[in-house]
Symmetry: C2
Subunit: 433 residues, 2 copies
């Protein structure tokens, strides 16, 4: 058996142990994992220094290097995140539906863990602890495949987590760190459809495409967030301006930042000059159609590609639309099913916008930046899905479980006539007819 | 653009129209589809006669040929099934959770359709109507790829459904029948990850493996049902015998039929002779371990393969186990995650059995034959999933939807400090810091 397969099978065995842990046991484990991280902060920072040195030697710098860096405060933040996971509601064992059928059998839908989750990610070492904690809290084992640039940090973090697992009598394989970072090893992992229940890639589009193309196991992913704000003719323009500035400028590098503004023609002349001024004062480059360029001094002409772009930067594509339907058609054509916002005071317009779009998150008069597990009340977030299956939008611990059926009866059978009523009664040979 | 791709894109466009239909509109459509099938029964039966002739000419016979056959009564049954779908609760628009966050934004989880569902199936022409109805009721478009042996029947049934769609102003592409039956066409369809939201293969293991191996779109499937009955030492043996006879003999050719019986050693001597007698009188061949062969006259020795077999026939594998844990270990090792049953009067034993097994359906003192969408209260069934993602176990209309987020605010933003409060107030250049 290959190393990858035997490592995955060990994770699957460990998953059985994690699945039956009580909520209290999982919470105590989370707290001890947090304490162990803090206790091993010295080793973790030393390992991180090695990663930083190697990255710097390879010429990595700026934001990329910063994402890799750990210090005492960041380790404390990671530990704190685990303590927050300990306080999440336990999704396992939750009964989502109860019914008694006419024949008397009682049916429950009950949440159980998925089993083994494979996280494939890049750079940030905090994912090692965050993902492990969320997977364990939902009763799963996890296989972590981080990037080579963070291998020492990830190894040190995993070792600290293993200490806590061991103190709770749990196998280290419940949190398995893949240290064979060859692409072939990842591909082999992604083909183990009989062992791995879900793969979640987090990182650049290249990584996500690679995972999707090579996986035989189910994959939940999102490629990009091309989030739209549509300012309706019935919008409160001041409110709309707030959503626009927050959505575009509060953190432009994240997937729930706004990338395209659509403005109803009737309010374009009043809204666009103000919007342009507010955005340009915050350093945003504007790219628009002819009307936009006429109304917003300094705006450049937009190309067709700009309307499908995830800029992740202080750039905004703008289009003036004739009506709600044109806005909907634009979003359907160019959107990424992530998050769309409408600013309007007209309830029927809002309702049509919500119904006509099938994006994971649709907002009425609220900022796209709320499209986030924490903000939407899920607690910690394991990822965001734009795949319309299983989970759609921000995914919390509950997304790492599935509902199954538990049925309780008192001997009910489907075809009573095929039975003899009594063990001692003679069974007629033709009773099976 | 290829024919397959343009056909799929037409289905996606049609999905937008279906998604926004009201419950009443969908119910009226179902009723008209049923009526149209009955009105076109003549054409459908003539087409079916062609299929039957061709199949007979190819040497198809017995159960295979019977599965293909339609008559007036079967067409009426298909129409009746559509009328039953019309009475199902509409899953679309159902709000599964409501929450107001501390900042005042209101969050709803709301069910929306998946989009485009591809059904890949064999033989039975009723699937053409059943699958179309369930997909439409859940607000989806469907692409149907049936077997070549039923192509005339499927075409006639689809034409009848198109009549009803047209009468409701809906595009025929909402129910698209793939008539290009080359394997390459199916493969191309299964690769359209940007258009098809879910593929559901129904048929033999070969078809399901082919779909799984060639799909880039998500697939929900089940390979086989190796269902177990464990008769505990605390079982009511009369009750257990009823579950055994019903599970094995009431319809041996279906996936929720029992394939393996596990008996606690302490009750083996009292249960097995009676069980053997009842089963053998109904023509069941028994294959067991040494103890079984000693206690059940006529039982043959079982091979290791027998314990993983989906016989779909009047054959039963039997093993005597030392205790509950050995039964659980056996099922974990040999099971297919479909349906497992325990017969016991001991609540703690039942609880341990339910918790330790992660099969889609676990039953206490009820027949495995209830593992079916209708019996479990889902109404019609689109398939059974043994993939622990999205849907697990029998899948009804709700499994053809997904929950998304709808957020309503009054202008809330994530970083209020980055805004100026007022449109007319001057915006400070450093406000973005």
């Amino acid at each position: 058996m290959s190393d990858i397969r035997s490592l995955a099978m060990a994770a699957r065995d460990a998953a059985s142990d994690v699945a039956v842990l009580s909520t209290d046991a999982k919470r105590a484990l989370m707290m001890d994992m947090a304490a162990s991280l803090e206790r091993h902060a010295g080793e973790i920072l030393a390992a991180n220094a090695q990663d930083m040195q190697q990255a710097a030697a390879k010429g990595v710098q700026g934001a990329m290097l910063d994402r890799l860096r750990l210090d005492e405060a960041r380790v404390a933040t990671i530990a704190q995140a685990l303590r927050e996971v300990a306080n999440l509601p336990d999704p396992v064992g939750v009964v989502t539906r109860r019914e008694t059928r006419p024949n008397g059998i009682g049916i429950e839908r009950v949440r159980i863990p998925l089993g083994v989750v494979a996280m494939i990610y890049e750079a940030r070492p905090n994912v090692t602890a965050d993902a492990a904690a969320l997977c364990l809290m939902a009763g799963n084992a996890v296989i972590l495949r981080g990037g080579s640039e963070a291998i020492h940090s990830n190894t040190a973090i995993a070792a600290a987590l293993h200490d806590a697992l061991s103190a709770h009598g749990l196998p280290a394989a419940a949190v398995t760190l893949l240290t064979d970072l060859r692409r072939e090893a990842m591909v082999e992992l992604l083909q183990l459809a009989d062992i791995i229940d879900l793969a979640i890639p987090r990182g650049g589009e290249g990584l996500i495409r690679f995972v999707t193309e090579h996986a035989r196991v189910p994959v939940i992913k999102h490629y990009k967030g091309v989030c739209h704000l549509y300012v309706d003719r019935a919008a409160d323009l001041e409110l709309a301006l707030g959503l626009l500035v927050d959505g575009k400028t509060s953190r432009p590098g994240v997937c729930n930042a706004l990338e395209t503004l659509l403005v109803h023609r009737e309010v374009a002349a009043s809204f666009l000059p103000l919007a342009a001024k507010a955005l340009q004062e915050r350093g945003v480059e504007l790219r628009g159609d002819e009307t936009v360029c006429a109304l917003a001094p300094g705006a450049k002409p937009a190309t067709e590609d700009d309307y499908a772009a995830e800029f992740l930067d202080l750039i905004l594509a703008i289009r003036v639309v004739d009506d709600l339907e044109q806005a909907i058609a634009h979003i359907r054509r160019h959107g990424s099913d992530h998050t769309e916002v409408i600013a309007t005071r007209d309830e029927a317009t809002a309702q049509r916008f919500v119904q006509a779009l099938r994006s994971a998150v649709v907002m009425v008069n609220a900022s796209s930046r709320f499209s986030d597990g924490g903000e939407l009340g899920l607690g910690a977030e394991i990822g965001i899905s734009t795949t319309r299956l299983h989970a759609y939008g921000p995914m919390g611990a509950e997304s790492l479980t599935v509902e199954r059926f538990v049925v309780r009866g008192e001997g009910q059978v489907r075809h009573p006539s095929s039975l003899s009523a009594n063990l001692s009664a003679p069974v007629l040979p033709d009773a099976s007819a």
